[in-house]
Symmetry: C2
């Protein structure tokens, strides 16, 4: 049932592997208008899956970044609705495999999995098929890491790497032979 669903991580990190500073700040990410493929990527996604911390960071943005795409927020505690009329947010909790199964049963085809803890949980559970990491040319020394402990090695297949005038380097990997 879940064979027809793909989960992708699309994320920017410092060269030393942090997706945010310890307090969630993203100030080290470039503010330039350079296109790093996000728009093309998000157009292929039907459901975004993230955790409470990323959701709370997003609520601090000046606008809702997901348009009318469905956002699933994973948390064991109640989650406030976003104050944007166009926003579609659903609160879920449970094991990653159950989340994917439920979303697949409801017709989801392409999940965008985001946020440090959530990405790590889905990777550990073997539920990520594509990893697109964009390295921002800076070392920040500490922060929220993209990757965490694993039960065993996860081999990656390199698909493509490109770099941008600003110095960002984006690599796409496939995991486990899936599409």
């Amino acid at each position: 049932m879940t064979d027809s669903i793909t989960a992708t991580v699309f994320v920017g990190t410092s060269v030393d592997g942090f997706i945010a500073r310890k307090d969630g700040a993203l100030d080290f990410l470039p503010q330039d208008p350079e296109d790093h493929g996000y728009d093309a990527f998000i157009a292929t996604v039907d459901t975004i899956v993230t955790g409470r911390n990323t959701y709370e960071t997003v609520l601090g943005f000046s606008s809702w970044p997901y348009g009318s795409k469905k956002l699933v927020v994973l948390s064991t505690r109640p989650v406030p609705q976003p104050p944007y009329p166009e926003a579609v947010m659903e609160h879920m909790s449970g094991e990653p495999a159950d989340i994917v199964r439920q979303l697949a049963a409801r017709g989801a085809k392409h999940l965008y999995v985001d946020g440090g803890i959530t990405v790590q949980r889905f990777l550990r559970a073997g539920l990520i098929q594509r990893l697109i990491v964009t390295r921002v040319p800076v070392l920040i020394g500490s922060g929220i890491p993209l990757f965490g402990e694993l039960l065993h090695d996860i081999p990656l297949q390199h698909v493509a790497t490109r770099h941008f005038p600003s110095g960002l380097v984006q690599s796409e990997y496939r995991i486990g032979g899936s599409a």
Copy 2:
């Protein structure tokens, strides 16, 4: 006096940023004969600087990897001489800035700084000018990290990125506008 000396880090890591497993094992690095530029790089180096842990790993190799290049081993404790007639090893200790100053005074032009703790100390001290990181397509979850805590952000200038048939992605960065 140290303006005429350049220090480079040339290192392979897993995509999650580890240079070795916790016990020092390097089994996740490719064993293939693919040329990733190491020979061309090492030809430009006159002095290798590393710490005790990397030195002990190297002593376990089946041959001495540095030819007749000088290897400086940084350690606060005595260091055994390598059991290879061609090996040139010198034991030093002290702050990175002092090490660089002494080596520059003795005519060193291009240092290859290697090993987790040593790389981190030299980066923190602002003494690395070039960073060449080759990402091996695997996540290993834990190990000896390439990067560590910093006193402040270190901006990098992207120089070049190339990838190899085996899936390795190599990015070169310059630090602080130096050559």
